[in-house]
């Protein structure tokens, strides 16, 4: 991106767009870093007007210490550099580089890191925080020649890494991956000394752009993909199963097929963190079944569901897998070694991301593995992630028992369903994650930044419930979130989402019943907006209203009670005392 392009991006936003306020804390003149950061964020937040407010020049920690409860920004970006830890590390300063000064620099840097960490801890809840560790090399002030790391340099770097590890553990601060940044912006091309001395911006234009890009990704990360559908032959393993037989398939060093083994390990790791893994292969089912019995597979069969193996078109297999997962194609990646198969699937499923498995190109293979991790990676893994695949298996069993249609009353009555409403779950990461990734049962498609969410759930009269479910088939985990405000006898629901895994269990009815009973409201106003994907929610409300809603609407308690079917769930409530106390 050039400066001109960045400026044009930031100027193309409608003037009445809702602002997205970002504080940029850095000790240097932010100049192009500010321009590029605004542009990269603007590209992600198309319906917002990104406004960057730079902090105090030469006083990064002071900027952090002045962020208050009164008007916290939507996001906070911190571009830490060595001079923020001690001004003697600044090329613009006149401080001594003497041998005795160097010992003191190390000590004062530790003190400053401690002060910054404390300031970060005191920042009020709400804004998400992205932090880059020093990206520029230390000045040549240490006693050792440049090819050798002096003990002082190592001590400074160790102190910064300890600081980063400690604050990242708190979970609220996204720390830029220095190794990835080094690939995007090589170290030798980062410092512009003349710019530093003349203007106070130490970065080259290219480095400012690359760093801003990474900071923007950390501040507003893209939603991870939900599933990967993989081919088998020459993809999950090396060899054609039907030709060489299940025992001759390879995925290890000995068979020169380690790339396939690495792919299996990555899929297994992603499955552990809740990414769905399915198989679409043109193959002999009996041979594949034998191959999946091999004990040395690195992707375990229980981590994969569904497995579509036959000789028909892969687009059909993908369609059935998407149906079993109940997610849209644009949430999924399809991996195959055949460009033709990728093209066939891409044509049938617009939006699906098709990735070629480069079986004989190791560099491309590594790039593919990293691409899959980037697309599916998560900041944290929750207990709900571990439940996802099992709950989908159970969902298929559930649908099979109900013949795919509406569940018979006797069946629903006997499955031992328990719905739990947690009224104090606003800060649970899973709650916002669910709101921001659910499409089909979603009141209006609204997506929230952490700061927006904090404002919504902490406003006067706010009500939030996280909904979880289990029955004799097993737990589904947290599958719903409803949030709004109560004013008098009217409840206004701003957001309501429910995972598609939880359909057909009348959980949505039980949620409405809870809302009426808990709040005593006689009517509920829904901030509904039709979207391209929220048909299931419209269908649900059509059963209560007699017609599909077209815009915001009101549901009265009597309307609901007239058309609500029998509910068989045991209802549990959690943390009500704290939530209402």
């Amino acid at each position: 991106m050039t400066i001109t392009e960045a400026l044009r991006i930031t100027q193309s936003v409608p003037r009445d767009a809702r602002p997205f306020a970002v504080t940029l804390a850095c000790g240097f003149t932010p100049l192009h870093l500010q321009t590029f950061l605004a542009a990269h964020l603007q590209q992600t937040l198309a319906d917002r007007k990104v406004r960057i407010t730079p902090g105090l020049y030469g006083n990064l920690v002071g900027t952090l210490e002045t962020i208050s409860d009164a008007s916290p920004p939507d996001g906070l970006v911190i571009a830490l550099e060595w001079p923020d830890l001690d001004p003697r590390l600044d090329y613009r300063g006149a401080g001594s580089w003497s041998v005795t000064a160097v010992n003191d620099i190390v000590a004062s840097a530790q003190t400053m890191l401690h002060r910054i960490a404390n300031a970060l801890l005191r920042i009020p809840a709400g804004p998400r925080i992205a932090l880059s560790l020093p990206t520029l090399a230390l000045p040549p002030l240490f006693h050792a020649p440049g090819w050798q790391a002096s003990q002082h340099e190592l001590a400074l770097e160790a102190g910064v890494l300890r600081f980063a590890a400690d604050i990242a553990q708190a979970g609220r601060i996204a720390v830029i991956n220095s190794q990835r940044l080094a690939e995007e912006s090589p170290a030798a091309g980062r410092l512009d000394l003349k710019s530093d001395l003349y203007t106070g911006l130490p970065y080259t234009i290219e480095h400012a752009d690359r760093l801003a890009s990474q900071l923007a990704l950390a501040l507003v990360p893209p939603a991870p993909k939900k599933g990967i559908i993989s081919d088998l032959d020459d993809t999950l393993w090396s060899g054609i199963a039907g030709e060489v037989g299940p025992d001759a398939l390879g995925w290890d060093l000995a068979s020169h097929a380690q790339l396939h083994g690495l792919y299996q390990k990555l899929l297994a790791s992603l499955a552990d963190s809740g990414t769905l893994i399915g198989i679409a292969s043109k193959n002999d089912p009996a041979v594949v079944a034998k191959a999946f019995e091999r004990k040395d597979l690195l992707l375990h069969p229980e981590q994969v569901f569904p497995i579509e193996v036959h000789w028909n078109a892969k687009s059909g297999s993908v369609a059935r897998i998407l149906e079993a997962w109940n997610i849209a194609a644009d949430s999924v990646i399809f991996v195959d070694d055949s460009p033709m198969e990728l093209a066939e699937v891409a044509a049938a499923h617009p939006g699906i991301e098709c990735v070629l498995f480069p079986r004989n190109d190791y560099q491309a293979g590594l790039a593919m593995l990293r691409q899959l991790r980037d697309r599916c990676g998560k900041e944290r893994v929750s207990k709900d992630d571990a439940l996802r695949l099992e709950s989908i298996r159970q969902g298929v069993a559930f649908r099979e028992q109900t013949s795919g249609g509406a569940a018979p009353e006797s069946f629903l009555e006997q499955i031992g369903a328990v719905v739990t409403f947690d009224f104090a779950a606003a800060a649970e990461p899973r709650v916002l994650e669910l709101v921001n990734k659910t499409n089909q049962f979603n009141l209006n498609g609204g997506r929230y930044t952490q700061a927006d969410w904090q404002k919504l759930v902490s406003s006067p009269g706010a009500l939030l419930a996280a909904v979880s479910y289990e029955d004799k088939f097993g737990p589904l985990g947290t599958i719903g979130v409803v949030a709004g405000q109560l004013g008098g006898r009217t409840l206004v629901i701003e957001t309501w989402v429910m995972s598609c895994r939880a359909f057909a269990r009348r959980i949505e009815h039980q949620t409405l019943k809870m809302l009426f009973e808990t709040t005593g409201a006689s009517e509920i106003d829904f901030r509904f907006t039709p979207t391209a994907k929220n048909g299931p929610l419209r269908d649900f409300f059509a059963t209560l209203l007699g017609e599909e809603p077209q815009s915001e609407f009101r549901l009265t308690r009597s309307q609901f009670e007239l058309r609500c079917p029998a509910l068989y769930h045991e209802v549990r409530e959690m943390r009500r005392a704290q939530a209402h106390g």
Binding site: I3, T4, L7, L31
Partner: protein, 80 residues
């Protein structure tokens, strides 16, 4: 309007979107409040993007009006 003048005008529009078109030709640090030290550097980089060469920060202080920038660009063009 010659091509260089037009391209320089475009650069001013990018850096100073609030500046009326008719005020660009007479723009200077004295007449444009938004033309501060930060805007001057941004303008320099936008001109570099547009004309495809690097400018020297040492020249920045003297290039404080549209006309001076235009003359500078013409000289650079002649040298090239």
């Amino acid at each position: 309007m010659d091509e260089t003048r037009q391209r320089l005008t475009n650069c001013f529009q990018v850096v100073f979107p609030e500046l009326p078109q008719e005020a660009i030709a007479t723009a200077s640090t004295a007449t444009v409040a938004a033309w501060d030290s930060v805007a001057a550097i941004t303008l320099m980089n936008v001109i570099e993007d547009e004309f495809g060469f690097e400018m020297d920060l040492d020249d920045l202080a003297d290039l404080d009006s549209f006309e001076k920038l235009y003359s500078y660009l013409q000289k650079r063009h002649q040298v090239a």
